[in-house]
Amino acid sequence: MRYKIPYKIVPLHLNYVLLHMHTDIIMKPLRIFFGILSGVLFFAQAQTIEEGEKLFKGNCAACHKVDVKEAVLVGPGLLKIRDRWQDKQELLKIWIKEPKKALATGDAYVKELWDMYPSEMPGQAVNDAEIDAILMYLDNPPVKKVAASAVVATEKDSDADNNWLVMLVLSGVLLIVYLVARSLGTQLEELAAKKRGDKHTHLSIFEEICLFVHHQKTWVVILSVVLGLMGAVRGYLALMQIGVYPGYHPTQPINFPHDVHTSKDMAGIECVYCHNSVEKSKHAGIPSANVCMNCHKGIQEGRNTGKSEIEKIYKAVNFSPKTMQYGNPKDAEPIVWNKVHNLPDHVYFNHSQHVVVGKIACQKCHGPVETMQTVSQYSPLTMGWCIDCHRETEVPGYTDEKNKYYRELHARMDNKSLQKMLEDDKVTVSELGGLECGKCHY
């Protein structure tokens, strides 16, 4: 996918020049005008970097890192690449678009690059404006924060497990203490009885319990009611968990490390690069093996498992890493993955709706995949979970003046509905009908 750059790129120092102009009365309005203009331009530049990042991830990230030249993925790291090409900026553009054409110019640096890396740089279908955006991004890649909420949540869960263990051990100890004390008491009693010469008739545990219950009727009733209620509640909650599998973590045919591929300090590939139907379809899509081969034709050894896992891809597509040739496609074998996130058949869920219209990050439902090795189910995927989100989440397009769909909707709305909707100053999914059965069940 390619993006159009809506603004023309103008060098930043224009702003600087404007600041040092004479403060003439005539010049003042002009300065204000140019000030606003440069503000717009600066905004445009920030946008351009953002566009550049998207373009980079869509086109380049498969083979290049945003790192120093020595950080080789398939090709070299591209951080501040403009500095390396210095006065040959035009040649760089030609190199990106048509590498062979650049090679034909006979430039020494191009020749050096060509020989240095085994994989041929393919020509990229980008225009000059897009290349500018990418280069601008590479000059100054913004640093982003990584969400950490998920990690906290998992820690909390393990805390709860520990509490249960402590309780169990404690009750075990208490039970032992009680049994020891009781047997001591019985023995003492027997001893005393022997001393007295009585024929001892000590009570069995069962009889003792019956006697206790007989004496403590009120307390026993209260206790049983409380215990019964607790049991019912726990039972109900347990039943509600049937078919709910947060944490479901099936073994996969290939031990695919999401962290290595997506984490910023490793390959840093955008989710959408591989799961590319997420913006178009209801399915995010498991990437086809040819997408893997875009990079793994070059990268034949992984950092965790060496060659063993990557070779499974080669086997699947019938590719020989030695000869770098594909064999007969008839001998290729599809990879049978185990689906992690399963929704029941009677639910219609559309990824593109949530990602494109809802502008929701993948991590919101799938968790910090960039920290997971093989993926496990992060969210409960229950209807309650869906509904909660629909209740709280604002519809991002609704306030967007450019979104004609929602403008039209807004214009048609009757006053009463509108007032009710805007009581809390936000328009949530549920207020636009997102809780209705027929939105997901048909």
């Binding site: 498991i286 597509v317 185990n338 689906k339 219609y348 709706q353 219209v357 929602y406």
Partner: protein, 1062 residues
């Protein structure tokens, strides 16, 4: 382990003391299940057993809650244009010698799942048969391998043997004959020519039903044996003699489209349609004036019509007393024709050369040629000539024929003299069938070369002069089949790549006929993308109307009329909207589609006027338990036994039988759904263990006269039998019984000249006014128990124009295909458990109303019963008129079903939809009880799994399951379902708009029914979008809501039916 508790229980004294007292009439076979010592030795008591059983069951139940592991297999190398979850649409063309249409094929992940008309390019008009054709692609009973001498073989073996055999026969000097249906395909014709040239073969065209008389008549009148293009849209008066042009006659899809254009009452004029016929056809039911006549009477009527027109135009009049007697019947039609001379059309469905010449003469007198009939741009359908078939038979008799190749034809089934043909066929040295199924003909062939389904095939067509169309594969071949053209090319020792052949042919032959595209390959690609191309063809030159001796023809016709006045009935054979000529017999969607007139499904029957039935004491009332009488029809030693169906509108003295039934009489492998099934599954079989076909084959009743083969015969005897037969019909009532708010009907003059109150009066309610101390009449819409729904954007609605609805059922099959509506089979239909989300109600007119009853003194309790009984009977055949009303969920704003659901499984959406949530439904069926429109359907069975439906429900078939729409849930047993107004399409359409950030365009979303309607009678849209098409219709003068007085405030609007009659 000792599980014995050693406890004894008191058994009750009866058990000990009176052993004779027993609850069971028979001794329980205790010794059977207590035999062996294992149980006696066991220490496990009954209570223990139950304990462990209980534990086991609950443990198993809990264990089964564990989610099954779901596998997911992505593409290894994803095709660039396939995105899982997103449909791809391909333009293609359907043509089978009978139906012709430009289609869009919806494919999901490479599977074709739905057919929609290609309205943008080509002839985008579908009927039920074309809609349902996608299902036949997945028929597992299709031929899956080449067959040599009854055994599966490889293509190499077959090709080698066929080539050797053909060469040998050629060397012997014997004839090689290639039988095909009407191809109308330039490249296929080129392939045939190649083959014919290679082997000196002969090409004979064979259709199931002949229209050769029209070609012959045109040859006599204009010097060319052609079929002209008819323009029903330009005709202000249409007179049809037994031409069922909306279903059966020439290119029915084109006729339908044009007919609907001329029937719009919003225009300045609306066509007046006169239909003379015996059987009540789809076309006849839409006519303004339907005049029931026997076929023999039609002969005279045509002559009488000629006379009136000729008199007015100053031409010679035909003599004959009989002719004059019929003039009163055609007078009104003739006046209308004369008033619209040059803008009228007379058509005739009889395959009778003289009649067709007379009809040509009438059209000529009226000046209709070059106006409504275009001879210069003919059509290429129905090319069969009986003479060629008869000549072939002669040659076969003389043993001159050494090889017969049948490609897509089935003479063993539909040739009127099939027995004679097959006897000779079996003696032919080499017989090769290029066929989809091992059908009646193919099963007798020595070699079978299985062919592709049309969705797997390439093809090009020129069915209408200058209008070219392309068909392309939308899926790779499912089985080991081969395109028929490739087979012929292989055998002719040419390159078998038909794709290359057709592309080359298209570029070399068609490229020069246009000047829009400059690059041949772009031209090919664009044509393929559009599915059709309109090219410059030279008009066909015809001579002026020949001066024929009409009088001589008239004398001959009158003589024929006299000869037909025999004892007995006149039989009229017809083809049904559903099964057509019988090639769709394996398609359960079509088998279950109710006949537009009789509403009967899964069956063939004799249609007879109830008055005639009374003469024979046949049963005229039928329902789910009351069977119909079975009768035998006889003529010339041929007999046929079928149930007799009370058909209102059938001309007295005539009977009708549908062709296309009785396929697979010898148990050929022609599809699972082609045979009768038993109540609990399995096929019905005769004494010899052969499966019983559905209905009977009536093709041998086609009359073979010297000139041509006709579909009607006189002198047919109807002999009652003792047998009875249960019929499955979806509608057993006939009239609206004087209820005003179901149907509204008016005349064109009233609609144009009078106020809305004259033809569409508002429903009012009398309300007591305290101020006035009197009753006030208020509009029903103002009286409401409920608050209005909040408006937050959309309100979806449908408008259905009763005027343009022709009752064809295309919407019903489209709905079935889109929404995974289950097929339930005859037995369940009979029990009124059909699952159609969209049904088409057919109402006959009745003159009897409450007012008349009052006059007759039919009031009071007892009188009322008689009154209602009389209301149920449709009017006399001469004044009988028909209205079709498609009924789906009305999506009431104040829905009665919603208020009674105990679990809120059916709720209202903010967009005006009545939602049905299957996973919430517990199946109380309160909603269905409370629905005034009776559109809710209950899943009585697990249709996709229960053995009863194994033969009829395609979802039980591994392959046919692939046709299911993945965006719609397949409902399970015990839940209610109904029309969702294609909510999946609404959601998808909205999503596209949201993603693009554009306003939702009117027409961007279409429901399956609105997209499929060949006459655009159904309009879907947003009632809140003031510029939308639907707003003009639904809030227009003709619009009303069905049963508005109930107060449901439905979102489906009907537009009053308008008839162009006095």
């Amino acid at each position: 382990m000792n599980m014995d508790t050693n406890k004894k229980y008191w058994k009750g004294h009866q058990a000990e003391h009176s052993p004779s007292l027993s609850e069971f009439s028979q001794e329980l076979p205790q010794d059977v299940f207590l035999s062996g010592t294992a149980l006696e030795d066991s220490q496990t008591s009954r209570r223990d057993f139950l304990k462990y059983l209980g534990f086991g069951v609950s443990a198993a139940a809990l264990a089964s809650c564990e989610a099954p592991v779901v596998k997911s297999i992505p593409y290894l190398n994803k095709p660039e244009d396939i995105t899982p979850g997103v449909a791809n649409w391909y333009a293609s063309t359907y043509f089978d010698g009978y139906d012709y249409a430009s289609v869009l094929v919806k494919t999901r992940e490479g599977r074709p799942i739905h057919i929609q008309p290609n309205k943008q390019f080509g002839l985008g008009v579908l009927n039920a048969r074309i809609n349902a054709s996608v299902l036949s692609l997945y028929d597992g009973e299709r031929l899956q391998n080449p067959i040599v001498a009854g055994k599966a073989a490889t293509w190499e073996t077959l090709d080698a043997e066929v080539k050797t055999a053909l060469t040998a026969i050629k060397a012997k000097g014997k004839k090689i004959v290639l039988l095909t249906p009407t191809l109308a395909s330039p490249s296929s014709q080129a392939v045939v020519d190649t083959f014919v040239q290679a082997y000196g073969a002969e090409h004979v065209i064979m259709d199931s039903v002949s229209r050769s008389a029209m070609r012959k008549a045109n040859e006599q009148c204009f010097g060319k044996a052609i079929l002209p293009s008819y323009h029903f849209d330009k005709a202000k008066t249409i007179v049809s003699f037994s031409a069922d042009f909306l279903n059966d006659w020439l290119i029915n899809t084109a006729n339908t489209q044009q007919y609907a254009k001329g029937r719009n009452p919003e225009n300045e004029w609306m066509s007046a349609h006169f239909q003379f016929e015996a059987n009540l056809s789809v076309t006849g039911s839409n006519a303004d004036y339907r005049i029931p006549l026997k076929p023999s009477e039609e002969y005279l009527a045509i002559l009488a019509l000629y006379n009136i027109i000729a008199k007015a135009k100053g031409a010679n009049i035909l003599a004959g007393a009989e002719i004059a007697s019929m003039e009163s019947k055609v007078q009104t039609a003739a006046q209308s024709l004369l008033a619209n001379a040059g803008k009228s059309l007379v058509v005739c469905g009889h395959n009778h050369v003289y009649l067709q010449v007379i009809v040509n003469a009438i059209n000529n007198l009226l000046g209709n040629y070059a106006q409504t009939i275009d001879l210069q741009n003919p059509i290429y359908i129905n090319q069969m000539q009986e003479d060629n078939i008869l000549a072939l038979l002669e040659n076969m008799k003389k043993s001159e024929v050494g090889a017969v190749l049948t490609w897509g034809v089935n003479p063993a089934y539909y040739l009127p003299n099939a027995d004679e043909f097959m006897q000779l066929y079996k003696q032919v040295e080499l017989t090769i069938a290029l066929s989809l199924y091992q059908d009646e003909t193919a099963s007798q062939a020595k070699y079978i070369a299985p062919i592709h389904h049309y969705l797997e095939s390439w093809s090009d067509y020129q069915v209408i002069h200058g209008q070219y169309a392309l068909a392309q594969p939308t899926i790779g071949s499912l089985y080991n089949t081969r395109q028929a053209q490739s087979s012929l090319l292989t055998w002719a020792d040419k390159d078998a790549d038909y794709h290359a052949f057709i592309q080359e042919h298209w570029i070399s032959k068609q490229f020069k006929k246009q000047n829009k595209e400059l690059n041949p390959l772009t031209f090919w690609n664009n044509s393929l993308h559009n599915g059709s191309a309109i090219l410059q063809e030279n008009p066909i030159a015809v001579s002026a109307f020949a001066n024929l001796d009409i009088q001589a023809l008239a004398i001959s016709i009158v003589a024929e009329y006299k000869a037909m006045q025999k004892q007995g009935y006149e039989l009229c054979l017809y083809r049904k909207m559903s099964l057509g000529d019988g090639s769709h017999v394996a398609n359960p969607w079509l088998q279950e589609l109710p006949d537009p007139m009789t509403k009967a499904t899964w069956d063939n029957y004799i249609t007879m006027n109830p008055k005639d039935m009374e003469k024979h004491s046949f049963v005229t009332y039928y329902d789910q338990e009351k069977p119909l009488s079975v009768a035998q029809i006889q003529i010339d030693g041929k007999t046929l036994e079928l149930p007799v169906f009370p058909a209102y509108g059938q001309k007295q003295g005539t009977i009708g039988v549908a062709l296309g039934y009785g396929r697979g009489a010898n148990n050929e492998k022609i599809g699972k759904a082609a045979y009768q099934t038993q109540e609990y599954g399995g096929y019905m079989e005769d004494a010899s263990g052969k499966r019983l076909p559905i209905g009977k084959n009536a093709y041998n009743f086609v009359a073979r006269t010297n000139q041509s083969w006709t579909l009607h015969t006189a002198g047919v005897q109807v002999v009652p039998t003792e047998k009875t037969y249960l019929i499955a019909s979806t509608q057993t009532h006939h009239t609206v019984m004087d209820r005003g708010s179901v149907l509204k009907e008016t005349t064109f003059a009233t609609y144009k000249n009078q106020d809305k109150s004259a033809y569409n009066p508002a429903n009012t309610l009398q309300v007591w006014s305290e101020e006035k101390q009197a009753f006030d009449e208020i509009n029903i819409a103002q009286a409401d128990l409920w608050d209005a729904h909040p408006n937050i954007g959309h309100r979806w609605g449908l408008s259905i124009d009763l005027n343009t609805c022709i009752g064809c059922g295309a919407c019903a099959t489209a709905c079935q295909s889109e929404n995974n509506v289950p097929v339930v089979g005859k037995d369940e239909i009979r029990r009124v458990r059909d699952m159609f989300w969209l049904r088409i109600d057919r109402y006959f007119s009745s003159d009897y109303n409450a007012q008349k009853a009052e006059e007759d003194g039919k009031s009071g309790v007892m009188g009322a019963i008689e009154k209602y009984h009389l209301m149920e009977v449709p009017s006399h055949e001469d004044t009988l008129s028909v209205v079709f009303q498609p009924v789906m969920c009305q999506h009431c704003n104040h829905a009665p079903c919603e208020t009674v659901c105990p679990v809120a499984a059916t709720t209202h959406s903010s967009e005006g939809l009545n939602q049905m949530t299957y996973n919430r439904c517990v199946g109380t069926r309160y909603c269905a009880n409370n629905c005034p429109y009776k559109v809710r359907r209950f899943n009585w069975f697990n249709y996709t799994g229960y053995k009863k439906f194994a033969e009829v429900n395609p979802s039980q078939d591994v392959q046919a399951r692939m046709v299911l729409n993945p965006d719609v849930a397949v409902r399970t047993r015990g839940v209610m379902e109904k029309c969702s107004m294609c909510v999946q399409r609404i959601q998808a359409g909205k999503l596209e708009a949201k993603k693009a950030g554009t306003a939702l365009q009117d027409g961007a979303i279409q429901t399956a029914c609105s997209a499929a309607c060949p006459t655009q009678a159904i309009t879907f849209g947003d009632l809140n979008d003031k510029d939308a098409q639907i707003v003009k219709k639904a809030f227009g003068a003709r619009a009303y809501r069905m049963l508005e007085e109930v107060g449901t405030q439905s979102n489906v609007y009907y537009l009053t039916k308008v008839r162009n009659k006095a």
